[in-house]
Symmetry: C2
Subunit: 135 residues, 2 copies
């Protein structure tokens, strides 16, 4: 697995914009964030520059301006971040977190059904079979 660049919280907002649609010009990104983040345009451009340096995004030139697009997938990111989050707070153990959430969170009956269904699938699959290679 390649090294994913560290994306800060503010940078993350920019990434989200580019993940939902890309490529986009700087101005488009700025507009998309407007009203939502209360950042000056220059601030957004700074974030874009930093994401470029980190190789989290890239651009194609389109005449006088650039069209930016992500180089890392949101999925990879969420995956990695979640992993390190878990490690930090729950010592890497997933179950305590799951228990915590299943207990604490409001879930609709539909959601509960869906979760149960997923658990059922896992049961059938054979819970203790060697699944090392399955992803």
């Amino acid at each position: 697995m390649k090294e994913l660049p560290k994306i800060s919280e503010a940078e993350w907002e920019v990434m989200k914009i580019l993940w939902t649609r890309s490529p986009q010009t700087g101005n488009e990104v700025i507009e998309a964030l407007e009203g939502q983040m209360d950042w000056k345009p220059k601030t957004v451009r700074t974030l874009i520059s930093r994401l470029l340096q980190k190789n989290a995004i890239a651009f194609q030139e389109a005449g006088r301006t650039y069209l930016y697009y992500p180089l890392v997938s949101q999925d990879d990111y969420v995956q990695t971040e979640t992993q390190s989050f878990l490690k930090r707070l729950y010592g890497g153990a997933v179950k305590p977190l799951l228990v915590h959430f299943l207990r604490e969170q409001k879930l609709s009956s539909d959601e509960i059904s869906e979760l149960k269904r997923i658990l059922d699938e896992k049961t059938e699959e054979g819970p203790d079979r060697d699944r090392r290679k399955d992803r």
Copy 2:
């Protein structure tokens, strides 16, 4: 809910030590982290000082030295951090995270059973009842 001080990653390691046992002297904390974190003693003391400033911990004087203890509970912390993590990565929606984990993670059959049991409890409880006051 009171404002929890922000605890950095390095500081978190110190907190973990104090959460598992307290109060402890600086040296005890330093020893506890030794071999585990590869920090110079002074580094640990800096972290302790910062945690003091942030009111994350406090101390009682014990003769020539201090006995440190946490002022915030690990539970509160994990709770808050998890909340903001979720908001950041999953837009606050718990279900996608649960789905993600139930799918991706290795869980033993025992664990699966336990999770199902918890879901069953929630079902009985009446999924859409107003549970605002239940914690």
